[in-house]
């Protein structure tokens, strides 16, 4: 069993910028030294609603990217979809406001030691952490192809500088308002074959991750994905965000997605196990 991210600290972080981008908000926080320790795949947990809020739990967001600004302090950026009361509250906060933030949390995407051919797949705002990952991979000499999908054009998050960090970008929307019409999984097979992909990195809804894992397994390609499950604390003490994951010893355990994840090897996840404990899980009875 893994421990909490050793670099995780709690800070009051000032909002430096908060801008609407399509269906999302791009928010930048001043976080000091945290920026030097966050890795692509890590997440932040932010208290929402202000003092005396009826929302007692933190909200978790994947880190989009971080910047070390030297003496002026580090910056941490996230992309927020305002779909619940907590995320909506956060998108309504103006620059200058300070939030209670804990970061970096969770596991990071594994970076290959050799230059490999990587395919990054993002669903909706799940694309955000992939741009920071893309930069790291490019610096290691990797070829990076990216596929982004969403229901509609407004929900594709692909900033200009992010687009520049990849060798190819394929966009797919279900309603065809931009890019190809369909789902990300419609195009993965061709790209894996044509570009001789060695590894897939993905972030997005669980259903999408499961479908990608089916494809990666068929092609025998390694798949690292950022999973999600309802989370109360984000720091490993509440045991709500668990998923059945197979360990190196072959035993399936209910592991915390905030500590042993969010980034896991897709082949170790027992997919489609919502509302059930898979047979043979450690301690099941």
């Amino acid at each position: 069993m893994m421990g909490i991210n050793k670099n995780a600290v709690q800070v009051m972080a000032e909002i430096v910028s908060n801008k609407k981008v399509g269906a999302y908000n791009h928010i930048v926080f001043s976080v000091g030294d945290i920026a030097n320790h966050a890795k692509p795949g890590n997440f932040v947990a932010i208290a929402v609603g202000g003092a005396n809020s009826a929302m007692v739990l933190r909200r978790a967001f994947a880190i989009y990217r971080t910047f070390d600004k030297g003496n002026s302090g580090g910056l941490l950026e996230i992309v927020v979809a305002p779909h619940g009361a907590g995320s909506t509250w956060l998108t309504n906060q103006a620059p200058g406001f300070k939030v209670d933030l804990i970061a970096p949390l969770g596991t990071a995407f594994g970076i290959p030691t050799q230059p490999v051919r990587a395919l990054l797949v993002g669903g909706g705002y799940g694309s955000a952490p992939l741009f920071g990952l893309s930069e790291v991979l490019k610096n290691r000499g990797c070829r990076v192809d990216m596929v982004l999908g969403a229901s509609t054009a407004m929900k594709i998050y692909a900033p200009l500088d992010g687009k520049r960090s990849v060798n190819s970008l394929t966009i797919v929307t279900e309603d065809g308002t931009t890019g190809l019409t369909g789902k990300v999984t419609d195009v993965l097979g061709d790209i894996i074959e044509t570009n001789e992909i060695d590894i897939i990195y993905s972030c997005g809804p669980m259903g999408m991750l499961e479908a990608i894992n089916q494809i990666s397994s068929n092609f025998g390609v390694v798949h690292q994905c950022a999973i999600e499950e309802s989370m109360a604390c984000g720091i490993g003490v509440c045991m709500t965000c668990v998923l059945p994951i197979k360990g190196e010893d072959g035993v399936v355990r209910m592991l915390r997605s905030c500590i042993d994840g969010p980034v896991v090897d897709g082949d170790t996840v027992i997919w489609n196990s919502k509302r059930t404990i898979p047979d043979g899980t450690w301690g099941a009875h």
Binding site: I4, V56, L57, E229, V237, C238, M239, R275, G283, H285
Partner: protein, 311 residues
């Protein structure tokens, strides 16, 4: 000099702010945010005899000023816990209260025997808000006879001086009556209250949101229930020490439970929202007690019960 010390049974603690079982694991994660020695005690997650996967997900739903959880006592089992968690906690210098849970009266007896000779433990919290497999899954703490049987099993097997703190559910007609039963059965102190049974239905899927359907409600939403339960039990048995809990998020809230009759206060859900909540609450409580003119914590315990006319 303000005296923050407190006691439960024969066990003494430097201050009255504890973690709540199931809300701090075994302290490892929180130790990244503060020194565990700053706590009155770490109350560990209720441990059972065998490894346990817990329930399926979703296990959690946020509710107004609270949350519903249905973890199902996921844990490694007592043997791994004693091998890995207790030595680590001892090395931290933490004051340790071990919480145990069983599915049968015999489970409680075996757990007590396994803990009897373990050094470095201050007290045992006996979580009897668990389904009893020998009694159609009825919760031990909901019936006087089963509550009594579980505590008696621990009392008979624990030996020595380790205080037993019986943790009760508020989901009963008379919590004072259950409290009297478990004290008669050998409990030295009481932990009040466990979560309140609740349910959330997802109006999109139109089904219960949690895989386990029902869950335990915690957080500030249940604080008045905790205050009431503590007040009633302290009134019935003022000599029995109470570890109070239920929605404490500030020093003012902890003070409220102390006024009702709690000698120590566990912090649970507030830790999920803020890992350093316990430290903040401890400081706020101390400042509040001093501001109200108390020279010691002990003077404030049950102070809300003083007769009319007294200051």
């Amino acid at each position: 000099m303000f005296n923050f010390e407190t006691s439960l049974g024969q066990a003494s603690f430097a201050n009255p702010i504890f973690t709540a079982s199931g809300c701090a694991g075994s302290g490892r994660e929180l130790s990244q945010f503060f020194e565990l020695t700053e706590l009155g005690a770490v109350v560990t997650k209720s441990i059972m005899l065998k490894p346990r996967s817990g329930r399926a997900t979703p296990r959690m739903a946020e509710t107004p000023s609270g949350m519903l959880n249905s973890i199902g006592l996921q844990g490694p089992g007592i043997d791994i816990f004693l091998e890995k968690d207790i030595p680590w906690l001892r090395d931290q210098g933490a004051n340790i209260v071990v919480s145990i849970a069983g599915e049968s009266v015999e489970d409680y007896a075996v757990l007590a025997r396994k803990l009897r000779s373990v050094s470095g433990i201050s007290a045992l919290e006996v979580n009897i808000s668990c389904p009893n497999v020998e009694n159609r899954g009825q919760v031990f703490a909901c019936h006087p006879e089963t509550a009594r049987a579980a505590i008696e099993a621990v009392r008979r097997n624990i030996g020595g001086e380790l205080p037993i703190i019986a943790k009760l559910t508020p989901d009963v007609t008379s919590i004072a009556m259950i409290a009297e039963e478990v004290v008669a059965a050998g409990a030295d102190a009481l932990a009040l209250i466990n979560t309140v049974l609740g349910m959330v239905i997802d109006t999109n899927t139109m089904r219960p949101k949690l895989a386990g359907k029902t869950g335990g409600l915690s957080g500030p939403a249940i604080r008045p229930v905790a205050v009431r339960a503590i007040y009633q039990v302290h009134e019935a048995m003022p000599q029995v020490k109470i570890l109070g809990m239920g929605g404490v998020a500030t020093g003012r809230d902890a003070f409220e439970l102390i006024l009702a009759g709690a000698s120590a206060v566990s912090i649970g859900t507030a830790t999920f929202g803020n890992p350093t909540a316990v430290m903040k609450i401890k400081e706020e409580l101390k400042a509040g007690l001093i501001a109200h003119g108390f020279d010691s914590l002990k003077e404030a315990v049950g102070y809300a019960h003083r007769v009319e006319g007294n200051l």
